[in-house]
């Protein structure tokens, strides 16, 4: 096949194979997007009015002016400030340690040679499939034994590092850190830790940032284990939300003001960093 015909072929594909999307494609995507946004909007809508709107035949579609009043009632009903603070402490700590330990382990698995490396890495991958959530009963007994039940460290310690984090960082480190760079640093007299800090960590920063965001969101939204081990006086945001809902009569303006308040911080993070999160998920998918 001549160069010319190859060129012609490519041209044809570019012209027809990946032609501009038609309007119905946009129509479907917009419909999907409206469906994605609607539950968020609905909860804000109810939160900005009072519960009587739910009994109306045709519910109003524009927000009312009661949001701040309802939000204020959230803070009166449950220790919401404390919950926010707790969630920030837990998610922040877990994010930091997960990123630190995952990048370190990822570096070792990707670039260092040591006995048992492959077997140990296969073990890490296998643990991805292990539903560790099912071990909460002995874990709770252990935490009670330590006297940690009710304290934040009971939520932090089990989540210090995850298999998925180690796995992702290993895949990424393999791709972006050349051996030459590590060897050059070693020749210059860097210890392993300095190689990690000055060579590896800067190179894997995009993936580490994604892992951090992912970990933060997962930890912020975690429910079952905090529900088991914490109590109503010292809750995370999710526990406070659940508490709001568990009255005898559910005041939806109050409860949905709570969900809106709890969603806003993470929504802001998402809007600012959404592109990186999308890129991270897609990269992880190809490499994983």
């Amino acid at each position: 096949m001549t160069a010319l015909s190859v060129a012609v072929r490519r041209h044809t594909v570019d012209a027809t194979g990946t032609r501009r999307a038609r309007f119905w494609v946009y129509g479907l995507l917009i419909a999907f997007l409206v469906g994605s946004i609607f539950p968020f909007y609905w909860s804000f809508l109810v939160a900005s009015r009072d519960s009587s709107m739910l009994t109306e035949q045709v519910p109003p579609l524009l927000p009312g002016g009661n949001f701040l009043a309802n939000a204020g009632r959230v803070f009166d009903s449950v220790p919401f400030w404390k919950a926010l603070g707790n969630s920030v402490i837990v998610s922040g700590t877990v994010t930091l340690t997960t990123v630190l330990f995952s990048t370190l382990a990822g570096f070792a698995f990707a670039k260092l040679r040591f006995r048992g490396r492959n077997a140990l890495f296969v073990f890490v991958v296998a643990t991805l499939a292990v539903p560790t959530q099912l071990g909460i009963i002995p874990l709770y007994m252990a935490m009670s034994e330590f006297g940690w039940a009710g304290d934040l460290q009971a939520v932090i310690v089990p989540n210090l590092v995850t298999a998925i984090g180690v796995f992702w960082m290993r895949q990424y480190t393999m791709q972006v850190v050349p051996y030459e760079l590590i060897e050059a640093a070693r020749v210059d007299g860097c210890s392993m830790l300095r190689v990690y800090w000055h060579v590896v960590l800067p190179a894997v920063r995009p993936a580490a940032a994604f892992l951090g965001m992912f970990t933060f969101m997962t930890s912020w939204n975690d429910f079952l284990w905090p529900l088991v081990v914490l109590n109503a006086e010292n809750p995370t945001v999710q526990l406070a939300l659940e508490r709001l809902q568990s009255g005898f009569y559910v005041d939806y303006s109050l409860v949905l003001a709570g969900t809106t308040l709890a969603t806003i911080p993470i929504l802001i993070v998402f809007i600012v960093l959404g592109r990186q999160i999308v890129a991270g998920i897609m990269q992880g998918a190809v490499k994983g």
């Binding site: 072929r9 490519r10 594909v13 990946t18 032609r19 501009r20 999307a21 494609v25 999907f32 997007l33 469906g35 539950p39 609905w42 739910l54 009994t55 519910p59 995952s102 382990a105 570096f107 070792a108 260092l112 040679r113 040591f114 490396r117 140990l120 643990t127 499939a129 292990v130 539903p131 560790t132 099912l134 071990g135 009963i137 002995p138 874990l139 709770y140 310690v157 392993m192 429910f223 079952l224 088991v228 945001v237 999710q238 939300l241 659940e242 809902q245 568990s246 559910v250 939806y252 949905l256 709890a262 969603t263 993070v269 998402f270 592109r275 999308v278 998920i281 897609m282 998918a285 190809v286």
Partner: protein, 337 residues
């Protein structure tokens, strides 16, 4: 001068086991020996945190769960009685367990099946040449930020039996109201909608990434052979997505069978662990939680956990084999894996 000699003999095996040998030197200083130790032991130090954490809070509790399941033990008891497999015998005759098992599988099927179909179609839409491609991708992922608790509360409201928006809409369109809480199947549908709403976008991006990774030459060749868009999608794109679809199905299995938060918050009686007035949407994890922390039978709850654990492994393997078969009926085979 025995020092350097010892250092020399020490050095030979350790370099063989670790890095490529540095240029030979006549003697090793203290500093160099430190460096050799650094090369040799650092990797173990770096991977240690994961193994320690996993061992202490992952593996050990799981194993201890199987041990605990052989005992009759209450939460506040110090004493526990060995009962052998009595907990399992009771479990297999426990109608509430079978009910929870059926609910879990029903919700899982209702959520995973449609979700993967929609994710593949949506990924195909996103794979066309769009204006502002990243913005659409971010938009598709948006539901992922919602916490399961917030989601459960919002959807419990939307699917409310009396004033819920969904029933209002159905009535406006001339259909009958549906008791989304009371009716067993309807409640499964409502919970599956929640799961799908949150996870479809995430899986769409994973499928989209796999689509982007398909080499253009293959699609081109199919086009040269006269295959239309639909034919290309079914015969070329889908088979090449096989590893990704397997990945998505297996991860949804592991997560989907442990579903807890959605059914707990969907309950019309908030705070309850019953999964509806007659357990119509109680899942196995919810039943385990209720048994362990509400009625406080730790031994029995452990038996539930361990059965669910085995079930997840079995279904994940079956799914793996099934997906491999279904997805490989196309023409192209992926040589990469």
């Amino acid at each position: 001068m025995s020092g350097p000699v010892i250092a020399e003999t020490e050095r030979t095996p350790s370099t063989a086991a670790s890095a490529p040998p540095p240029p030979r030197e006549p003697r090793l200083t203290w500093r160099q020996r430190l460096s050799v130790a650094d090369v040799k032991w650092s990797p173990y130090l770096y991977i240690a945190p994961f193994f320690v954490v996993f061992g202490v809070v992952g593996l050990f509790p799981l194993l201890y769960t199987s041990y605990l399941s052989l005992f009759d033990r209450d939460l506040l008891d110090v004493e526990s009685t060995y009962v052998g497999f009595a907990n399992y015998a009771t479990l297999f005759r426990d109608p509430q367990f079978w009910n929870a098992l059926v609910n879990t599988i029903s919700i899982f099927v209702l959520s995973t099946g449609p979700q993967i179909v929609i994710a593949v179609l949506l990924a195909a839409l996103l794979n066309t040449r769009l204006r502002m491609p990243t913005t659409w991708r971010v938009g598709v992922l948006l539901p992922y930020v919602a916490s399961l608790v917030a989601l459960g509360i919002i959807f419990a409201n939307l699917f409310g039996p009396n004033y819920g928006l969904v029933n209002g809409l159905l009535e406006t369109l001339g259909f009958d109201r549906i008791d989304w809480q009371g009716n067993r199947f309807a409640s499964h549908v409502a919970i599956a909608v929640m799961v799908n709403w949150r996870w479809t976008g995430y899986n769409t991006l994973i499928v989209l990434a796999a689509m982007k990774a398909i080499p253009k030459e293959i699609t081109e060749a199919a086009m040269m052979d006269g295959a239309g868009a639909v034919r290309r999608f079914v015969s070329v794109t889908l088979p090449l997505l096989r590893p990704t679809l397997i990945f998505v199905v297996v991860t949804s299995t592991i997560g989907g069978l442990q579903i807890f938060t959605e059914p707990k918050l969907f309950d019309a009686m908030p705070g309850s662990n019953n999964g509806g007035s007659s357990n119509q949407f109680q899942t196995i994890t919810l039943y385990m939680y209720q048994t362990g922390f509400e009625t406080q039978h730790l031994g029995y709850a452990s038996a539930i956990a361990w059965v669910l654990f085995l079930l997840i492994i079995v279904i994940a393997v079956v799914n793996f084999l099934l997906t491999r078969r279904i997805a490989s009926t196309g023409v192209a085979e992926d040589g990469a894996r």
